[in-house]
Symmetry: C2
DNA sequence: TTGAAAGCGATACCAA
DNA sequence: TTGGTATCGCTTTCAA
């Protein structure tokens, strides 16, 4: 079977109406008599008709799909629960609307294909997550005039783009203050990538708090937000600063790696070294001891970013950019 | 500014050629004089032209994109390293071709939207992963005549669909035999979902081997291939059969949960209870003790399925379905 | 409420 | 090698 897909013309013919009426009947049924509507619906059913999306969007100039853009080598995407939570909440927020979500990953480090896909307006809008300093996404999207919303502050064009974020610097301060308060005298950090706003801001919060307390802020190692990155960073950090008694780790996933290293070295958590993570995703509850961490409202952020994007899709003129910043919160468990 | 996107007509005008020539120049440049080609390329650049995909695919009847279909509630997708590996290898295999990969998840359990998307031929082909007994994907795709390939044997229409798989039953036998060989006398299993071929086949292999050895095969609990599912299954299994000394767990991820439960109960692995997992993804190396498991060539399968799909895309007539079955292999580590 | 007809922006055939 | 032109399948005025 699958010979040829029926067209709207055939539907109209079978229903005994014009193509125009058939079209109206299919799209909401406004200004169509009940009689004609029923006839068309019947015809659609018997013919197994489904509209050709190319033909449709050629005239409507809409694709009825939006992209979730993750400019990230795919290995990382699935290892990090952050993405799973985000995807899930985006998807959930889309439930009412008849929009298809298209997940776009930067294929093997080259973003050309990704940008081209967006340029061609294969989607009506884009949600950007895990944006890096040197990807050209913000610039590209603004130039394109494509509706978009970022999860996490864009590096450039931040005044022209709607985004949601948390106050990562405040989170870094909060974590560091907690370590100071529980008596740590030598506090290091496993920071995130410096090409991501979250990495930079959390580090700044840590540094600032130590400076205010008159402590040295030289014990820094950078991870890449992966568990293995946490392992490597912890190793080099402990190597250079064996006297550390507190660690602020810029993500829970990295903290898992860090805790593995501490365990290997026979260092007790929190007695020898106290550890504070960041994110409060499921990983945090499962570590031994349970991880004290800074809660990042990942789900709310994803949902809200999606809403910001959906709002733009209706409008013809781009609405003024909106910014939503969530406050972080300390979740105390057993590691600090 | 994103006023209006230039059309091919404008490009042609600027380049001083006809629309037909401009089109040829853009698509491969065959039968176009070097002079005309250069002029068009210039015009494209200065105008910032990119072709309208809707208009294009209206006539070519191709979308230049393929779907990775995951008929799975999204929570699970990201928790399982299986998907990450699959996605990554699919993506990698696509690197040479200028095809966009579109990830389609069944949104909150309803597959209607997903099937509709495929019906409309929004993609040129589909790769299906994690297919369940009661989803209508195989039937739907065959009915549609849409090129497709499955990772894992389809429940229906298996003779009309190309797919790759491993011999899961042989894997189940292999794992169980290993437990018998190391002296286990009372072997249970945490099986996978019975609505997935892999779940059923691995269980069958276990059962068959115990029967052949004259042992009881009544200690069965079902998990859903998640870590939490493994925890729950292990609890109920140990409750009912406290005398177990060997466990075949149908996925590494579930095995992680199972090992947590055993640890809680103070049961030593493998001394008190030997454990064999399935998949051999990264999780297996990280457990303590390291997990003995059955290796599933996930990467090769994904790559091969992608190739099977790509081959179909060229053809006008559907080529005969191809089936590739990989042999499983036991990877012995410390848990059994 | 209906239908005739004018596009939407490309590709591809065919004659030149 | 080129360009005129017929499509592709649908939505959307506009008159009736």
């Amino acid at each position: 079977m699958g010979a040829t897909t029926p067209t709207l013309d055939e539907v109209a013919q079978v229903a005994g109406v014009s193509r125009a009426t058939a079209s109206r009947a299919i799209n909401g049924g406004n200004r169509v008599s009940p009689r004609a509507l029923a006839a068309v619906e019947d015809a659609v059913r018997t013919l197994g008709y489904s509209p050709n999306p190319a033909a449709r969007s050629l005239v409507t100039r809409r694709t009825e799909s939006i992209a979730l853009v993750v400019p990230e080598p795919d290995e990382r995407v699935f290892a990090d629960p952050f993405f799973g939570h985000t995807l899930r909440n985006v998807n959930r927020t889309l439930d009412d609307r008849d929009l298809q979500l298209v997940l776009l990953l930067a294929r093997s480090g080259e973003e050309g294909r990704l940008l081209r896909y967006l340029s061609r307006r294969n989607v009506d809008g884009a949600l950007v997550v895990s944006h890096h300093r040197n990807d050209r996404l913000a610039e590209h999207l603004v130039g394109l005039g494509l509706p978009c919303a970022f999860v996490g502050r864009p590096w450039t064009h931040a005044d022209q783009i709607s985004y949601v974020d948390t106050d990562n610097q405040a989170g870094g301060r909060m974590a560091t203050r907690h370590l100071l308060d529980r008596g740590c005298r030598r506090i290091g950090t496993v920071a995130g990538s410096i090409d991501m706003a979250a990495g930079v801001d959390r580090l700044a919060g840590w540094r600032e708090t130590l400076a205010a307390a008159g402590q040295a802020s030289d014990a820094v190692a950078h991870g890449d937000f992966t568990e293995e990155g946490g392992v490597a960073a912890a190793r080099s950090l402990l190597q250079q600063h064996p006297d550390l008694d507190g660690l602020f780790v810029a993500s829970d996933l990295m903290a898992v790696g860090v805790m593995r290293v501490l365990a290997e070295r026979g260092l007790a958590i929190p007695r020898d070294v106290a550890v504070v993570g960041y994110d409060d995703l499921d990983a945090a509850e499962r570590t031994v001891p349970a991880l004290t961490t800074i809660r990042n409202p990942v789900g709310e952020m994803a949902e809200n970013a999606t809403r910001l994007l959906l709002e733009q899709l209706g409008q013809k003129a781009p609405p003024p950019p909106v910014r939503v910043i969530y406050p972080p919160a300390l979740v105390q468990r057993d590691s600090a």
